[in-house]
């Protein structure tokens, strides 16, 4: 059994070595938030309340000002591979909201990474955003309406491997 495991590790290591594009260069966290005037309990299990600080930040945007409550519906952390486009699905079982990340490695610098981010809604590429992301600085995409409120998608570079 141990021998099999060693062979498996050796083979996977070899495969990784053969493809420089598989090098992990960072990690990105995406989340889906929801601004509503309804009760969070009506949303079912799994929703997480946001901090007052974050709620205040969101309420500064005119479009989100009317909402009393903000909750997180789901999130996911995903590796960024050097030569691959990474797809993230922040809400379990739902592919209606998905994001892709593709690093532009040529201008990578310390704690910053230029990423091509695509927002896909119901299998349609809806928005492409090319911007420099900085570790720890969250970006909010004020997205589509749902029920009585508004969905917000967040993207944050949570880690970046130094060269």
């Amino acid at each position: 059994m141990r021998m099999l495991l060693l062979i498996y590790l050796a083979l996977t290591g070899l495969a990784g070595a053969q493809d420089p594009g598989k090098e992990v260069i960072g990690k990105v966290r995406t989340a889906v938030l929801f601004g509503t005037n309804g009760s969070p309990a009506a949303l079912g299990d799994g929703v997480v309340s946001l901090s007052a600080e974050e709620e205040g930040k969101l309420r500064k945007v005119a479009k989100l000002e009317p909402y009393e409550t903000f909750v997180k519906l789901g999130s996911v952390e995903q590796d960024i591979l050097k030569g691959y486009k990474s797809w993230a699905q922040p809400i379990s079982n739902s592919q209606a909201l998905m994001l892709t990340f593709q690093p532009q490695a040529s201008i990578k610098e310390s704690r910053k990474l230029r990423l091509d981010v695509e927002y896909w809604q119901k299998s349609k590429m809806t928005l492409r955003w090319d911007r420099v992301f900085e570790v720890g600085k969250r970006v909010y995409l004020i997205g589509p309406r749902w029920r009585d409120g508004n969905l917000i998608i967040t993207v944050e570079l949570v880690g970046l491997k130094s060269k």
């Binding site: 594009g21 949303l43 079912g44 299990d45 799994g46 929703v47 600080e53 930040k57 500064k60 945007v61 005119a62 519906l73 789901g74 999130s75 996911v76 995903q78 590796d79 591979l81 050097k82 030569g83 691959y84 486009k85 990474s86 797809w87 993230a88 699905q89 922040p90 809400i91 379990s92 079982n93 739902s94 209606a96 909201l97 998905m98 892709t100 593709q102 690093p103 490695a105 040529s106 201008i107 990578k108 610098e109 809604q121 119901k122 349609k124 809806t126 928005l127 492409r128 955003w129 090319d130 911007r131 420099v132 600085k137 970006v139 909010y140 995409l141 004020i142 997205g143 589509p144 309406r145």
Partner: protein
Amino acid sequence: MKNDRKEELLTRWMDDGLSDEEMKEFEPILASSPELREERARFLLLREKLRDSVPREVDPPFPDYFNSHLEKLVKADQKAGEGIEGPGGFAAFNRRWLWWMAPAVTCAVVFAFLLGMKSAKIGGSSPMLVDAAAGSEVYSPLTNVSTKVIVDRESDSTLLVVEGLAPLSDSDLAVGAGFSDGHHGFYVNVKETY
């Protein structure tokens, strides 16, 4: 300073996209190469001339967009030609000239499309929020979608307000069993990035 960083700052400076902080970072480069200002002035003049000469808004880039648009232009020109001039050698020459011009028209349409790509609009709703789109470019293939980038300097975060997205339903979000964190997606090899 690394060459990559210099290049990035230079490119954004050319596009008027540097923040105050980045401008401070860029000042020494500018001081050591004063000719850059002249280069930029020439570039801006050229850009203005190009923008004036082609339309800024075009239809969305569907796969058959260029062909159909080109066909439309050719047909419209043919009709106009027939209406103004009778049959004859000169009209035939005009048609031939039109077909020879097809590649140029294609280039113009492609260029118009690139200019038509919707960049982030600058705007704000509160004095606490500062408008800036430095170093970012937003594009949507959907004509009814518009965007506005807002930088909240107080919390040092960026907000992209998107208007015109279709609303989602409960079935889209699969809310039946409550919410839980998502899954790692998959990875698609993109050879040209390395």
